[in-house]
Symmetry: D2
Subunit: 357 residues, 4 copies
């Protein structure tokens, strides 16, 4: 089952997985890699980080020190080859991805590779071919690329909406991708390869087809642009079916991180990224309407709250205590409930009686 | 540290916890209990469900069968007493909570008790006193009550906003709490004790003070109300400081689950529940503004996407495969990137060259 | 036809009225009265202001000087009695309303009286009875009270929505009425009689029934309140049918003017005042939805723009000139259109050729 | 003063104009022309429609019959030449505009010409030159073109925002222009000349510069497109300064009329058309914010309600009666106010006493 075919939600209920935790090595512990270590350690079920590797040994040691049982393995290839490693996360600089991904395929272990897969199309194709060969033998795929937007609930729902046929055939997609600022070495080429690459995947993911041609327009540049670079860019994709996707990429807005995608289709349109969930426009029984869904029940509305509540309780309980509303809060609620029921029955203002704390 | 003092976010990065997973018994596996089992098993890190208990043995067995290593223990008291149980989740009917919570305190193990803590104020106070006695000896609290709204990111941010002083002293709080429908046995009393109880905790949590008096008004009832019951209700809380909280509770709307809270304060107001995040109103440099925050960077915007991505990858990797965008997706992105850079440099439409799949 | 029965819009298309302009006297030219003079003179069709009256003669002369043909009549009773006055607008302080309204009824001429009609219920009833007597003889009503919200497109649409039955029987109405600040003489009593009076009319207008009882709660007061006054207030209306209306009235918010009304009904709810038009919640074919209407065509979307355009053009044309986009703008649009059609046909970038200006 | 330099609002308060009403001839009384007749007759102050002309005499007679004192003049040139006509509205088919506009200039009377000014750039330039010659002699302009969006409050505010410098230098403008449906004779060329022409003017109006080049892309067409036509289109304008404007024009959406414009600038962005007023994004003191303005006072919030109220009252008063809340409504409000003040003072529920109606 692919990500996007989960109708009801994004999280699987109970996976059919072995009882033992997955032993993961994380290669590269810069910002993204360190985030992945923290995530695997504290928020993800069923995995433990057993090894980290980084060109900066100190950084690796610092990260490993926070995770009980995690070793530093200086050579990433040694980490991949380690028999106590079941799977690998690649968060090293892009130029190392090809060799590391190929080594994982060679050993037959799953790998989550941050984008880009490799530095150019030819080397990426080499990874594809190596994995194809493995899959032909075993029936299993090994290489996952870190296009995380596919897992964003809004993008996942947008794809489901398209797949449902409710808005008809998509014709045009408008995208906005803005960053507040980028480092001084960030070039216009990197706007294509590091930023717009997400819209490349979004276009392919939403429309289920390849991109046939690209055009890049350079509007008047902002005075905040990295010297000598064109920012913003306006990028146009022609999909193989003739659909067009336009992407405004603007990486020095000075404002915030904004990502917006609107699908314009034959029987309606849908937009995400306005903090309104999916905003749909279509013809209703009473004329045209703009609509957003509302949560059908408290389990969906507060799904994340429940996850956070229980995760925090587990973390505290492992230290023998709690982290959240306590017995007094339960007592106070009972006392107000008692007064409330009395107030309901009497139709009068009723005082709440609380014992001294 | 309490829940709401986490400034940057709701999720802790790396907790200082022992390496061994917490062994949890879940008492009661109806809807809420079964949800908690799935959550602990599949989405929460650092815990395993080792026992379940339910008056309906078949249901308990069915749930246990989905979790490797999980036993059914018929008697909930036996589950609490089991030496292989480190902590307990109570999701049984309310009348059993008091005895079960007291047994957990007796054994000195942490417990997450679904609301209500107990069936009335006196028995709740008994739990408070028992835990006070334990805490006096050990310095640790044991009983957490399932008021999950405190962990909802919107409520947590709303409390932080109040605490920041930015909107000044709160004066009035308006709440709306609506359900599409309730079962036929649901009485107006239960609207107070089962539904409004959440606003009781929200009022106490946001305003950091107790409720001094309650008044309940009965507007004209909907024809969809359970026979003989008043629905909607309008409930008024007077806080000890004189602030007023009003709550519309309406459990037969036929529409959806809607929860809205607006805090009206001396220097502005803030509302949650419109699917717009926190909507703030205040005086700005250019006159009054209504504002919502925008994510500062992609890590915050896509935080949940990353968690889901990695959780799904771990689940798949434990079966030796992947669950997300694959090597071909990485290759296609590389090929488009190459064409895009060429298009940027040439200023022309550039075709994308893809190898046959 | 009453205001609210205009289905398609709020503005009548062509009224069946005599050709001669209505000659209006405006009594009281403080802020509201002066606004009405400007409105009648510059934005309203079919009327001319022929007389103004004010206790401050200078102010009256200043206002009259701006309106060709407008006289100052010192005594408001003389203005009402003047044979060249066809109708009267009363914008004097409230204590003068009763005598002035009665004089208009006496003369049998229409009057638009700013709220309050008079200073208390007994004197208002005297006006009602006098007009009843006139109407019994002539079949015509003469006294209109300035409850302008009935003419606000959002309130008018909200009443139509209720009348349509689409959201079912209304049960509860929530109102918010906030001002940034009030003058130092403004008392809590005036919050009821000058501010909440609008919600009194809104409740009666939307629900088509009388108010049976009122309760006023005093939450903790803001430090910005006028000394010794309670601000905010929470006012509860019980309607004769048992429906309940709650009103938060807060006149020292320091923020802005905010008016919000939400009708909670048996089959859905609807809210205005969020700058989103009517926000409806109800059960749709695909689950619960929150929706706002979209304009069906450009005439509705740009209705106000057309009115403003033509009013400004008329004002300029009377001075022999224009006030808006000129011939060059028309020419430039033609030139771009020509290039655009060529670009469409050729599929190529096409330059626009403009003559020198 | 140009349209957009009115800071406080869009409507002038009191114009410096002669007392006599402007006598207007309306040429062409199809949908647009008939709308203009109704507008001039019923909603615009200071003008009367004295003549209409249309190729369909019956239609002209029907429209004239609704306006006291309005004649039918069969020949539009005779209407322009009529000494009792002070100004002309041209709403005839486009091919007649050139001759009619030139005749107005010849007579030296103001003309409001619906778009297009003429059928091509050369003839438009001829009108420009003729008016230039008149203006050189008299210092007055005569020809206004019906680009009504400049008078739309949202567009006017957007231009003011740009002019204020608050969002910095504009770089890119995104436009969406959608119609539910078009008649079967509507071609892709007409999408450029009749629909996108509004964005041509919007781009020039907002950015205060000319369009240098146009490119038109044809995405995959909707199955609802007029046979043989490309719909939607993606149109790109390059402005003389290098800014880029993109326009999605889609005239067979089956949904509604949607117009959206987003200006992306060096220090923030602003969007209109979401029914949220101007949605601004920028860096605030507390990080990035998305904001919309709130009305500062009731005069602005209810400006349109007051205009409608008084217009309807004038229309009714000319028939000797009223059209809005009456004396009883004023009395009921007084009675509730009396009860409310008593409730405020006593702190108790207070019944409202109403005389029998």
């Amino acid at each position: 089952m692919t990500t996007t075919e989960t109708a009801a939600g994004v999280l699987p209920e109970m996976a059919d997985v072995p009882a033992r935790d997955l032993r993961v090595a994380v290669l590269g512990v810069g910002m993204m890699g360190a985030d992945h270590v923290a995530r695997l350690h504290s928020r993800v079920s069923g995995a433990e980080v057993v090894a980290v590797s980084d060109a900066f040994t100190e950084k690796a040691e610092q990260v490993a020190a926070e995770v009980p049982g995690c070793r530093v393995i200086a050579d990433p290839m040694a980490a991949i080859a380690d028999p106590e490693v079941d799977a690998v996360v690649i968060a090293t600089p892009g130029q190392f991805h090809e060799a590391q991904a190929l080594a994982c395929i060679e050993r037959g272990i799953p790998v989550l590779c941050e984008k880009p897969l490799t530095m150019d199309a030819d080397s990426s194709l080499a990874v594809v071919r190596a994995e194809d060969e493995f899959a032909a033998r075993t029936g299993r795929r090994l290489v996952q690329v870190g296009f995380m937007r596919r897992f964003d609930p809004e993008y996942a729902q947008l794809r489901l909406l398209i797949a449902s046929g409710d808005i008809g055939e998509p014709l045009v997609v408008h995208c906005v991708h803005r960053n507040a600022a980028v480092p001084p070495h960030f070039t216009s080429e990197m706007m294509i390869t590091d930023s717009v690459v997400h819209e490349v995947d979004v276009a392919r993911f939403l429309l289920d087809e390849e991109i046939a041609a690209v055009t890049v327009l350079r509007p008047k540049a902002t005075r905040h642009a990295v010297a000598g670079q064109s920012d913003p860019l306006l990028v146009l994709f022609e999909m193989t079916s003739g659909r067009i996707v336009d992407v405004e990429c603007f990486v020095s807005t000075g404002v915030a991180y904004e990502v917006r995608t609107e699908v314009v289709a034959e029987d309606g349109s849908a937009m995400i990224g306005l903090d309104l969930g999916i905003v749909r426009q279509g013809a209703g029984t009473r004329g045209a309407i703009r609509s957003t869904g509302i949560a059908p029940d408290f389990r969906e509305r507060f799904a994340r709250a429940y996850d956070i509540e229980v995760q925090r309780w587990v973390d505290a309980a492992r230290r023998g205590t709690i982290d959240g509303p306590g017995a007094w809060d339960g007592y106070a609620a009972s006392a107000v409930g008692t007064a409330g029921v009395e107030a309901l029955r009497s139709g009068r203002r009723t005082e709440v009686r609380l014992a001294p704390r």
